[in-house]
Symmetry: C2
Subunit: 288 residues, 2 copies
């Protein structure tokens, strides 16, 4: 099923004019991911290289030369060992990471819907036997998916509300307008609504949880610097990003969607580990 | 051009019944690569994880459950800084790594020819404008490619002969039958010709150098152990491979072909760095 998902995703993206980039797995700077300490680092040639946590900054730089890009990007995130039981966490996973120059949130939101609708159609068509074996009834998806602003979802469900939304939903649901502070500095703040971000998450139904994360990006150097400082991060750690922004980053929007979580949802599997032959589960040793 | 190459490779492999696996980038054990010390290692969850140097052992294990597999596998090999000027080395690159259960060398050699012929055809068709811009005349390829046994090439060209073969060749050339000792322990020794391996390299013409490496595999536990010991390696470092072999690994053959080197050859580029937006060249610092 995984290879059908990969092919279906590429098929749609190629039709829409996207160019596939080879992934970056070592970089001087990577996604800060809300302050979690990064222990996945190696030293080589007199420099520290982070294992990629997402290709966010490389995507922003890539759309200066190519309008629409995607990559199947292996990410390493050394999550707490307890998260190994969540069913949703691998410390090595693959993210379909894409970005579109001069797009806004509505553009990539609609792209996300087309992408999921297409993948579900292909999986229903090509993996009918596998779905039957798994006892999985996978219905067609219909766009547009409902959108709930973060503040509304929070008021309705209180803390951990993505899980509540996911458990009650009949189909995928967008959560939009995250507040500054709960998200990374690169999500763009709405100029007309200070404190509110032009970003989104997609949540799978039936408790499968978060599907994708994305939005518009901060791309102007003074805005990036402001956001880095308001997050309490060290701007010198993001010097090369700021230099790229001063040299000129275009406005852009995009998202990243985890492949193993997508296949878990499509197949109705209890744990993402079942998607991989050699799963990397937080806290679990591996032989091979 | 890179995305055309990726699509063309997948197109042929899917037609021939191959299943795409997600890549493994962290593993307790990875390709020894002729004794070079591995400094690309991280610690997590009480275990050491090597950044993948090739998916060789994972491919051998994967064909126990799937007959034909491939993966676009990011590899990290911290080569000496001087190699940065070779034109052929990146310390992070992507390898199309494939394996076929119960195949022999002739099977994968012919597959390699079909794959290259198909990719060249697609690039000539879809990248005609780009080839013209690059001033690159890329002719059709015709299989079979010539095969030269290692001992014969060595006698004719002496040391560093792959470069000589590559510079003089009019088209891709196979070098076959490497001797034990110049290759890794997992290349299968010919039972009827002790000391000779059932393996091969493909060399590009016009000095573009090595294209792919592959062959049949040692899969029986006593043979693997014998080869590890003859290479002077520590068998305890390969305990999980030996355990997998004792549990039963099928015979198989396969190869890995570097994508950046392939695109460099197709485009006639002076250095593999030009294939990547964020090249990782040995000895060179990077900003992003």
């Amino acid at each position: 099923m995984t290879s059908v998902v990969l092919d279906a995703a590429r098929e749609l993206l190629r039709t829409e004019g996207f160019v596939e980039l080879l992934p970056v797995i070592l970089a001087p700077v990577t996604d800060p991911l809300r302050h979690t300490a990064d222990r996945a680092v190696i030293e080589a040639y007199g420099q520290r290289w982070h294992l990629t946590r997402s290709m966010i900054f490389h995507k922003q730089a890539a759309v200066t030369v190519l309008e629409k890009i995607f990559s199947f990007s292996p990410n390493v995130r050394l999550e707490p060992a307890e998260w190994g039981q969540s069913g949703r966490h691998l410390f090595e996973f693959v993210q379909l990471d894409l970005e579109v120059r001069e797009a806004d949130r509505n553009d990539v939101l609609a792209l996300g819907e087309r992408l999921l609708v297409h993948i579900v159609e292909r999986v229903r068509g090509f993996c009918a036997q596998e779905l039957t074996l798994l006892g999985r009834k996978l219905g067609e998806l219909h766009a547009p998916f409902p959108r709930i602003p973060y503040r509304e979802a929070e008021a309705r469900y209180s803390a951990g509300f993505e899980d509540h939304v996911s458990r009650r939903a009949q189909g995928p649901v967008w959560i939009v307008d995250f507040p500054v502070g709960v998200r990374e500095f690169y999500d763009r703040e709405d100029p007309s609504r200070p404190g509110v971000l032009l970003d989104m998450d997609l949540v799978y139904p039936a408790g499968y949880g978060e599907a994708l994360s994305g939005g518009e990006r901060e791309h102007e150097p003074h805005r990036i610097l402001d956001r880095i400082e308001r997050q309490g991060l060290d701007p010198t750690a993001y010097g090369s990003l700021l230099a790229a922004a001063r040299a000129g980053l275009p406005s852009s929007a995009g998202f990243g969607i985890g492949i193993e979580r997508l296949v878990r949802y499509l197949g109705g599997l209890p744990h993402v580990r079942e998607v991989r032959l050699f799963p990397r589960v937080p806290g679990e040793p591996a032989a091979l």
